[in-house]
């Protein structure tokens, strides 16, 4: 914008009649409307709204007019310039929006392109199930106890009422270490942690112990020399089998879902008396022993024997019982004051039921495709 025209050259003064101003304005507006892009608009701006544009020059001349004409001319030129500037701003906004649209259109990508740049990590399903089980019991106020895998014979057997001449010792095919006279074994169950816990804590005791155990089983689809158990132990005043049943029912439902309860069958373990095997309502057929036939036409209503429980409606889950008083004695717990219960379940087995794992070896082969399927929480 030029300043007030205080010393003008009358030669350059052009008439500022209505027609002339309107013509300048209309020419400007036409040029603005015709500008196809921002570059052209910039040129139009200089040509029609710049200092040296007709309207710019006209503006300068207003000061040169006789005072009585100034007001009218000023108004006229001012209005024309206002209209032009307004049109410029509007067109500019329009063209910018167009340009942005064009740019965005050009930048469109194929969002379906794969993004597998970094292969996904995963935790092992057994680790995750162990954690999950621990969390279920921790939520009940229990704690998680631990013990070594290479264990003293006394803790694995004798302290659990499994003396050297107990026939049940042969039920658990044990890995023995050399030399034999050191009396060190690979623990055959998580039960030595029971003894360790009683020997290092005062009742009341409420613990679970998920962990790895070993038996000299040949490696096949249902047996492994290494597998995982979770041990539970409660020692308190007034503890009964009913509390054992309640704990296992809760455990079963927390892992397998509402309505999945347990059943006890009399059994034998040297470290518990009474002892029971625990069966679980088959969570596939929910205890009916039958599942709908995998028929193509679905609605036949026919059913076939459930493969998970082989039609039994129940699956074997683990063993449990009331802690044998002789175990309490060996671990320094007063059997007249306290009673307890203990249980042991297979973690690998639990996963096999829950997730339909068909071959136990899948857990130990380390095929990354297997673990990845389970992700980082189970």
């Amino acid at each position: 914008m030029s300043g007030p025209n205080s010393s003008y050259d009358p030669v350059q003064v052009t008439p500022l009649g209505e027609e002339q101003v309107f013509a300048m304005r209309d020419a400007a507006l036409a040029a603005i409307a015709a500008a196809a892009d921002l570059d052209e608009l910039k040129r139009v701006r200089t040509e029609h709204a710049g200092d040296r544009s007709p309207l710019g020059l006209a503006n300068r001349e207003i000061g040169a007019l006789p005072p009585q004409a100034r007001k009218e001319a000023g108004l006229r030129v001012g209005q024309a310039r206002g209209a032009v500037n307004q049109a410029l701003a509007a067109r500019s906004e329009e063209l910018e929006a167009e340009a942005e649209d064009r740019m965005l259109a050009e930048e469109t990508v194929d969002v379906t392109l794969p993004w597998d740049r970094m292969p996904r990590g995963a935790r092992h399903p057994i680790t995750m199930m162990s954690d999950r089980i621990a969390d279920i019991f921790v939520a009940m106020g229990w704690e998680v106890a631990e013990g070594p895998l290479v264990e003293a014979e006394w803790l694995n057997f004798d302290a659990l009422n499994l003396g050297a001449d107990h026939p049940a010792r042969t039920m658990q095919d044990t890995f023995w270490t050399e030399p034999a006279e050191n009396h060190v074994v690979l623990r055959t169950h998580t039960s030595p942690v029971q003894a360790r816990t009683m020997l290092t804590r005062e009742p009341p005791i409420y613990v679970v112990c998920p962990g790895r155990v070993f038996r000299t089983d040949e490696y096949d689809a249902t047996h492994s020399p290494m597998f995982h158990q979770v041990e539970g132990l409660v020692v308190d005043e007034g503890i009964t089998m009913a509390h054992l049943k309640g704990s296992l029912d809760h455990f079963a439902q927390a892992v397998f879902g509402e309505g999945i309860t347990t059943r006890f069958r009399p059994s034998y373990f040297p470290f518990t008396e009474p002892s029971a095997e625990v069966d679980l309502v088959c969570f596939v057929c929910r205890g009916t022993g039958e599942v709908p036939a995998p028929d193509a036409d679905g609605g036949t209503g026919q059913s076939v024997t459930c493969r998970t429980c082989r039609g039994e409606g129940w699956i074997e889950w683990g063993g449990c019982g009331v802690v044998n008083p002789s175990v309490l004695v060996a671990c320094g717990v007063d059997p007249d004051r306290y009673t307890g219960f203990a249980f042991g379940m297979g973690i690998d087995r639990t996963l096999m039921f829950r997730h339909g794992v068909e071959d136990l070896r899948s857990f130990f082969e380390g095929d990354v495709r297997f673990s990845r399927a389970f992700g980082t929480e189970i």
């Binding site: 970094m118 990590g121 070594p148 270490t177 409660v234 008396e273 082969e365 495709r369």
Partner: protein
């Protein structure tokens, strides 16, 4: 234990509508666990009848075979009474023989339907059956020829063959030895249905006298009772009756000869092992004693055994003739010439039986029962039953002599409070119920509130009040136990260590590592493959006495072999880009201290407990990583990035960072790593001492080859226990300055040998308190800076907590950093 249902029913009068499935499930609920139900001939549908062969015409065929065109009398089973014409390919029979015929309409195992059909020029109306066709065995050499008196033509052959007999197989727990007999199983069935029961062992037996075979017991503890009976005039060629042979087979035993079969049959019936001797091969009196060390005996299985002084032996003047209670000897074995039999029924000490069986790796039906404990009051009954059967089926005469040495020990009484079952089980069991349950299993019960209970002699497993609680509970029913969640005192949640272990796993999974679990068994070949020196401590591993594989007898000291095998396995399955981790304990043996076998009648003393702990190997938790192939894949975004030594180091650093532990890294030489690409990871412990946690880097090329993993596979292994111990429990919150940051970059040229980490530390130290961070962003080597030298470019950030730094302050700090680097490492600033 396999129990034929018809045999069970001999002793218990079960309700007529009880099915075998139901019986099996009721017994399972009582503690005899159903394994399987076998139904012989269950898949055959009639008509299956006895037939008598009237005529047979051999007819040679063009194909070289000869068939027999037979007419068979099947009585009125075919509806006409006329002989049935049947083509038969077998030749092991003759006219007049009784055979088994399936008539048209019958279905044989495998859904094989029988109908009239034209074959070999005849209309064959049925089939003469072999044992295999009926699913009764593998014998396909010929058809079944029934014994002459087996039945009449037209009789239903199912009964004659014992088909449709159902056999329940139970898994018997070690405490229920009594259930290893039909006597015991039937008793449980009677209990299940409250049905009348006849004890097969309850029989009137002849009184012992002094005319029997002389027997001397030197060790009444090992052998409290010995009963001997003899029979004479036994016909060794007399066949075992069909019903007996069939039951033995159904129970899983092989019929051998009448003499042997009778002893086995009575063992199954009563649960008491029995041994039969050829009495003519005995020399002088029988004596039971402990063996002398090194004495020899050839047992019935043909094994020559060297005896231990703990073994109980039966001897005669010739020396040992049997391993008492476990297996007889060869020299006095019954044979096809035996006409006089001595029947031994003796009670043995279960512990001796168990030890002898284990020592000689000998499992037998007799040993299995004797080591669990048998009823010591029935040897006379068992011997008498054997004699009865030998007389009835072997034409023998019972000799009048009856030898009995020793007496069954009395069963000790158990004291039990009548409310104990209720207190232990949580079921509302009244004292009256307790008493009736205990009486139902054969106990003698005295008292009301405090009971004195004498268990029956066949329940030697019942020794303390809790045993009785289990008996009461199982009879009342385990399904009656209520479900009550116990209320634990407020817990402390997971320990810090447990939480941190989870954090490590999640950190690595977030970094793209996949967790694996491998077996801890290795062989020394794995250590060779890792290239460990002869003196490497990792070679000192705990050895298993009975490994599953002779190639892997050691408990591993390092997770790397298992992890590398897993890499190779994945590779073999087509997964080439791998990042694996394992968290597991390793076993580091300590110097041969034995773990004591402590008493169990009291708590161990503190000293004993310590000794026990000391005897166990160290079992620290290790973390191992392995990377192969690409860490980042190539794709439309551009090229991938191969996993390198630095990813292994980064994995460890990430874990340490997640635990809030600062680790240091320095170059090291350690197998199995590449000597120029191995980082030792160290930490400074609370006492200010540096401690190595483990190593990370690229595998030595020879190790890659040995394990069959790709070249440049990178691994790390650290002592995770040690790292967890150093983890920051409570992170102090940082105090952040909101004043502007000042940035300065410096490039320093140093000798190649100067580690980047060291230079960075020096810069930080030299830059002083105002320095917020030092980050290496470029490494350059090349002609411009000369051989043997490298240029390291660092970005330094400065900030003050309370003011905006002036340019002069920043420059001064930066210059101080550079000056210290120059002084310590001869670093020259590159311009």
């Amino acid at each position: 234990m396999k129990a034929p249902v018809s045999w069970i029913k001999e002793y218990v009068d079960l309700p007529a509508d009880v099915t075998t499935d139901e019986l099996a499930h009721r017994l399972t609920a009582l503690g005899l666990k159903l394994e399987a139900i076998e139904r012989a001939g269950g898949d055959i549908t009639g008509p299956l009848v006895v037939g008598r062969v009237l005529t047979m015409e051999p007819e040679p065929q063009k194909n070289g075979k000869t068939i027999n065109w037979c007419t068979v009398d099947v009585g009125s089973a075919n509806g006409t009474g006329e002989p049935q014409g049947i083509v038969c390919g077998a030749h092991n029979f003759a006219p007049g023989d009784l055979v088994v015929v399936v008539l048209p309409g019958g279905v044989l195992p495998g859904g094989f339907e029988i109908s009239e059909r034209k074959t070999y020029g005849h209309v064959s109306a049925g089939m003469i059956c072999s044992a295999r066709e009926l699913g009764l065995g593998d014998d396909h050499a010929g058809i079944i020829v029934l014994p002459a008196g087996a039945g009449q033509p037209g009789d239903d052959a199912f009964d004659v063959l014992g088909l449709r007999e159902e056999v329940i197989e139970f898994e018997i727990n070690p405490d229920r030895a009594y259930a290893l007999s039909l006597r015991g199983v039937a008793r449980e069935a009677a209990l299940a249905y409250d049905a009348p029961y006849v004890d097969p062992a309850a029989r009137v037996t002849p009184e012992p006298n002094d005319q029997g075979y002389p027997v001397i017991i030197d060790d009444p503890t090992g052998c409290p009772v010995f009963v001997a009976r003899t029979v004479s005039g036994f016909d060794p060629s007399a066949p075992t009756p069909d019903w007996m042979a069939r039951r033995l087979q159904q129970a899983g035993m092989r019929p051998i000869s009448l003499g042997v079969d009778v002893t086995n049959y009575v063992m199954l019936e009563l649960g008491h092992p029995i041994h039969g001797y050829d009495a003519d091969r005995l020399a002088g009196p029988i004596r039971v004693r402990r063996a002398t060390e090194g004495e020899r005996l050839t047992t019935l299985d043909g094994a020559r055994r060297v005896l231990s002084a703990e073994d109980l032996v039966v001897t005669d003047d010739s020396g040992p003739i049997g391993l008492g209670g476990v297996m007889g000897g060869e020299t006095t074995e019954m044979s096809e010439a035996t006409t006089r039999i001595l029947v031994e029924v003796a009670s043995w000490d279960p512990v001796s039986m168990f030890r002898t069986g284990k020592r000689h790796k000998l499992t037998s039906e007799a040993g299995k029962r004797n080591e669990r404990g048998v009823d010591p009051t029935i040897p006379e009954a068992a011997a008498d039953r054997v004699v009865e059967l030998l007389v009835a089926h072997g034409g023998a005469t019972a000799d009048p002599g009856v030898t009995k040495v020793g007496e069954a020990p009395a069963t000790p009484a158990i004291q039990i409070a009548a409310d104990l079952p209720a207190r232990v089980t949580g079921m509302p069991i009244e004292p009256a119920t307790v008493i009736s349950c205990l009486e139902a299993i054969g106990c003698n019960v005295d008292g009301e509130e405090h009971l004195v209970v004498v268990p029956p002699p066949w329940r030697r497993d019942l020794t303390d009040p809790f045993d009785l609680v289990e008996e009461v509970a199982r009879i009342v029913g385990y399904d009656q136990v209520p479900s009550v969640v116990p209320v634990a005192p407020a817990g402390r949640g997971l320990t810090q260590g447990q939480l941190l272990r989870r954090r490590v796993g999640r950190t690595l999974a977030g970094d793209g590592f996949v967790e694996v679990l491998t077996f801890p068994f290795v062989g020394s070949e794995a250590f060779d493959a890792l290239g460990l020196d002869a003196g490497d401590p990792r070679r000192t591993a705990l050895r298993l006495a009975n490994p599953l594989s002779a190639e892997a007898p050691l408990m591993t000291t390092t997770l790397l072999p298992g992890l590398l095998e897993t890499v190779a396995r994945n590779l073999g399955r087509g997964t080439t880009d791998l990042a694996l981790f394992e968290i597991a304990t390793v076993t580091l043996p300590n110097v041969g201290v034995a773990a004591p076998i402590l008493p169990v009648d009291r708590r161990p003393t503190d000293g004993e407990w310590d000794d026990l702990q000391k005897a166990l190997p160290d079992q620290p938790l290790h973390l191992a990583l392995a990377l192969a192939g690409d860490r980042e894949l190539s794709g439309w975004w551009g090229p991938g990035r191969a996993a390198t030594w630095s990813d292994a180091v980064a994995g460890v650093r990430d874990v340490a960072a997640a635990l809030g532990v600062t680790v240091d890294v320095r170059a090291a030489h350690q197998a199995p790593w590449h000597p120029g690409r191995c980082a030792e990871i160290t930490v400074t412990d609370g006492m200010g001492a540096q401690r190595a946690l483990g190593y990370a880097g690229e595998l030595h090329p020879r190790v890659c080859k040995a394990f069959g993993v790709p070249a440049r596979t990178a691994v790390a292994e650290i002592d995770l226990s040690a790292l967890l111990d150093l983890a920051v429990e409570v992170v102090p919150a940082p105090s952040l300055s909101s004043y502007p940051v000042a940035k300065e970059d410096v490039a320093l040229v140093v000798d190649e040998s100067v580690p980047a980490e060291t230079l960075a530390r020096t810069l930080r130290e030299g830059a002083g308190e105002l320095c917020e961070s030092v980050r290496l962003f470029d490494v350059y080597t090349g002609e411009q800076i000369g051989a043997g030298r490298k240029s390291l470019a660092f970005a330094l950030r400065f900030r003050a907590p309370d003011r905006t730094l002036t340019e002069a302050e920043t420059a001064a700090a930066r210059n101080a950093a550079v000056a210290l680097a120059a002084e310590r490492h001869g670093a020259e600033q590159r311009t």
